[in-house]
């Protein structure tokens, strides 16, 4: 592999990790808003219990992503920075309101409802905007008439493909987060909440799949280069579909592992993650070598080799240092029964 290929693989890895974590994060925020009035099911508490300790960590991934783009592909950062000014700023504005009001809603308990509404609604818009970065990199909305790259907002917001991506982003957010929360509530022995999230996952799974087909359908007309290259990997796309079906089985069938329980959310969670992993691999591979089609490729945008080596070393060292921290964190918040099965819904869910 060339250095540029290693670099884009690292970047793709960050995008994937952030995409999964962000869907959980924004989705959980949204569900905690939807079920805020249904105190009996504890669905909101479960969502908050997941969200409170994790949102900061998730947010750090978005920063890591931005930093990875400009330290690995500085020339692409130039073009992306220029064309993403408007959508990027919109994302930032929503993100600021969302994060701040999420924290506020947990502190100012008497005003929890209105504050949760602000963070829930702004939060669910963000994945839709975030994913619109992908069709922007397909190039057809970027003009070079003035000599500089410029985003054509009019075309962007009249493109069916862009709307398919936005729909996919939002429905995937709701799908993945409800699968995760179903699993999380089951581990926490909150069976009412479990039923609620299981039902949501059953609704939003097929919608996400339909959106994915819609993306392919519209992509064909709007970015045929990408569509054709993706179809070269049709077997992998079908493979991904198989995992979607396994995920579906995990949501609908009675559990093999426990008597009298419907659904195997852990299985569904793993299968669905693999499904997204494979599909995004196909998308990413077809996107190569372009970062922004057709002008910016991974080779032309690549950083200085000396810098790349130095950054790569920090990745390895940083990972080695952080890994135990992540494990400890996971064991305290995803695994510790004392945290998961708290009797009293904790009022003090801070930051």
């Amino acid at each position: 592999m060339t250095d540029a290929l290693i670099a884009i693989t690292v970047l793709w890895g960050f995008v994937f990790i952030y995409a999964v974590m962000a869907t959980m994060d924004f989705g959980a925020g949204f569900w905690s808003m939807i079920y805020i009035n249904r105190e009996k099911t504890k669905a909101t508490n479960i969502a908050n219990r997941y969200l409170s300790p994790t949102w900061e960590v998730t947010n750090t991934f978005i920063v890591a992503l931005v930093v990875a783009v400009y330290s690995l592909f500085p020339t692409a950062a130039y073009t992306l920075g220029t064309v993403l000014l408007v959508p990027g700023s919109m994302i930032l504005l929503l993100l600021a309101l969302r994060s701040a009001f999420l924290v506020f809603s947990n502190i100012a308990t008497e005003y929890r409802k209105p504050l949760t509404y602000i963070s829930g609604i702004t939060g669910i818009l963000i994945p839709g905007l975030l994913i619109s970065v992908l069709p922007i990199t397909h190039g057809e909305f970027v003009d070079y008439e003035t000599g500089f790259a410029q985003l054509n907002l009019g075309e962007l917001f009249t493109s069916p493909n862009v709307y398919a991506f936005i729909g996919f982003g939002i429905s995937s957010t709701l799908f993945l987060s409800s699968v995760l929360l179903a699993d999380y509530s089951k581990v926490s022995h909150a069976m009412d909440a479990y039923q609620v999230y299981l039902r949501d996952a059953r609704i939003f799974g097929p919608i996400s799949l339909a959106m994915a087909f819609l993306i392919m359908l519209t992509l064909r007309g709007e970015a045929p280069w990408l569509y054709d290259k993706m179809m070269e990997d049709l077997p992998l796309l079908l493979f991904s579909l198989v995992f979607f079906l396994i995920g579906g089985a995990g949501l609908f069938l009675p559990s093999f592992f426990e008597k009298g329980v419907r659904g195997m959310p852990r299985l569904a969670m793993i299968a669905v993650t693999i499904q997204y992993l494979v599909a995004s691999y196909v998308y990413g591979k077809a996107h190569l070598p372009y970062i922004v089609y057709p002008g910016v490729t991974i080779e032309s945008a690549f950083t200085d080799p000396n810098s790349f080596r130095a950054v790569f070393v920090t990745y390895i060292v940083g990972f080695a240092i952080l890994f135990p921290g992540f494990i400890y964190f996971w064991s305290l918040f995803m695994h510790d029964k004392r945290y998961l099965r708290q009797r009293k819904p904790k009022e003090g869910t801070q930051s």
Binding site: P53, P74, S89, L92, L97, A100, A108, N306, D336, G348
Partner: protein, 453 residues
């Protein structure tokens, strides 16, 4: 306004807003750690209560500090793509390492708050130390990029291309240690005096000798000691920072001092306004020879004046006022801390005069103001360069137009956040009084850190 001016104003506004939360976010963890350690030593539960209350405030401030920092980081690429292209090639390390610092801070902050009651006391202290170190490291690292902008290193420009890149040489650029030290120390100053402000205000509001009065007095004394040490360090280190300017960015020092003619035995101008027409500082106090001595430790040091540079390289002249204001506040804070400690510990007086408490109330806002003045001085004083003598701000700016609406939207969001954060803090501390927390701390069955209402 043209688009370049809007881009500069927008970025400056973002930074000026972020820095309030970021600085307190570096300073407060040290205060929390001090309180936790004092508790381990004295077993006085009131220190735990302090730690808990400051942690709450910190958590709320993080809710604004983190998203505004995310805005700052992303806006750098959105507004200054030319700058970030160079940084990506030459200076990616601080940003990259900063990410790990953010992760450490985020992971252990959550652990300290949400797992407080489930982990061993020593693990709480370790978590808190990691939070404080993570915050310090992120400040030091981001400041390193700023240091690089003033003293670029680790690359050459040949025919418009960047060659001979050495990212570690860029990382250890000339002014890294001095600048980072100044930012770290000044953050501790700010954290301490913000606490002092609140404590002094509460002492004015509560009856002398009451439990609450004593509680706040304890907090005040911690902050005077921490703040006193840190502000003394800041001034010493600020002196080195000025000597670095003398060496590396002479036109910035000249503008900071309002010096037009190159000379040895140069005078130090305090206060006043730099006047372009008469090439002098009007209405200021002049101390003969002092500037030469400060810049190079000898009266013979030749200090370069603005007239030795082409006028389009001059920084704006008003930075003289910003610089003066920062130094003045720095000196005042040292005196306040010193006076408070002497009064209490050495003269053994048990009661501060009212006017002194009021002075203390202003100390926190003054420290924040000094941070703002210092940064605007440092960034605006670098103009017209974004990377000193290598890349001009105009070249680095985005080519996108019509930034006006975005500017308005960002300002609106900052105003909303500013109002909301103040209201939330007031609401929370009104609902959860010190006495509530002391009661919770004394009751073994109640979880102090996770308690809220």
């Amino acid at each position: 306004m043209d688009d370049l001016l809007i881009a500069r104003s927008l970025f400056g506004t973002t930074m000026a807003f972020h820095i309030i939360f970021a600085t307190i976010g570096v300073g407060l963890p040290l205060m929390i750690l001090t309180a936790e350690l004092l508790y381990q030593k004295s077993k006085d539960l009131e220190y735990v209560v302090m730690a808990k209350r400051w942690t709450k405030a910190f958590a709320v401030l993080l809710g604004v500090g983190i998203p505004t920092g995310t805005i700052a980081g992303t806006q750098l690429s959105l507004l200054w793509p030319g700058f970030m292209e160079v940084i990506g090639r030459v200076m990616p390390l601080p940003f990259q390492i900063e990410i790990y610092a953010f992760f450490i801070e985020a992971l252990f902050m959550s652990i300290y708050v949400y797992a407080a009651e489930r982990i061993a006391p020593w693990m709480r202290i370790v978590s808190l130390i990691l939070v404080a170190l993570g915050a310090l490291a992120s400040a030091v690292l981001i400041t390193n990029v700023h240091a690089f902008q003033g003293t670029p290193a680790g690359f050459r420009i040949e025919d418009g291309n960047i060659v001979d890149v050495n990212p570690w040489a860029a990382f250890f650029n000339a002014s890294f240690f001095v600048t980072a030290g100044h930012v770290a120390l000044s953050a501790y100053v700010t954290g301490a005096f913000v606490v002092a402000s609140v404590a002094a205000f509460k002492m004015l509001r509560n009856e002398y000798g009451s439990r609450l009065y004593k509680f706040h007095q304890k907090a005040l004394m911690i902050s005077l000691v921490v703040g006193g040490i840190a502000s003394f360090g800041t001034a010493l280190n600020g002196h080195s920072a000025a000597q670095y300017l003398h060496e590396y960015q002479p036109e910035k020092l000249a503008a900071a001092e309002g010096l037009f003619e190159t000379q040895s035995h140069a005078p130090l101008a305090i206060g006043g306004i730099t006047d372009r027409e008469t090439e002098s500082v009007k209405w200021g106090i002049e101390i003969p020879w002092a500037l030469s001595f400060l810049a190079g430790n000898s009266f013979d040091t030749v200090v370069v004046g603005l007239n030795d540079f082409p006028e389009e390289w001059w920084p704006p002249l008003f930075i003289h006022t910003l610089f003066n204001a920062m130094v003045l506040i720095g000196s005042l804070l040292i005196m306040i801390a010193f006076a408070g400690i002497v009064w209490k510990k050495f003269l053994k007086k048990d009661r501060f005069p009212k006017w002194f408490l009021w002075l203390l109330v202003t100390s926190g806002p003054l420290a924040v103001a000094a941070i703002e003045f210092g940064w605007i001085f440092a960034c605006t004083g670098r103009q017209p360069w974004v990377i000193y003598r290598i890349l001009s701000t105009a070249q680095a700016a985005t080519t996108a137009t019509d930034l006006g609406l975005l500017f308005i939207l960002f300002i609106a969001v900052y105003i909303i956040l500013a109002i909301a954060v103040v209201l939330v803090l007031l609401y929370y501390f009104k609902k959860n009084t010190v006495l509530d927390d002391i009661r919770r701390a004394e009751d073994k069955n109640v979880q102090l850190f996770s308690s809220n209402s």
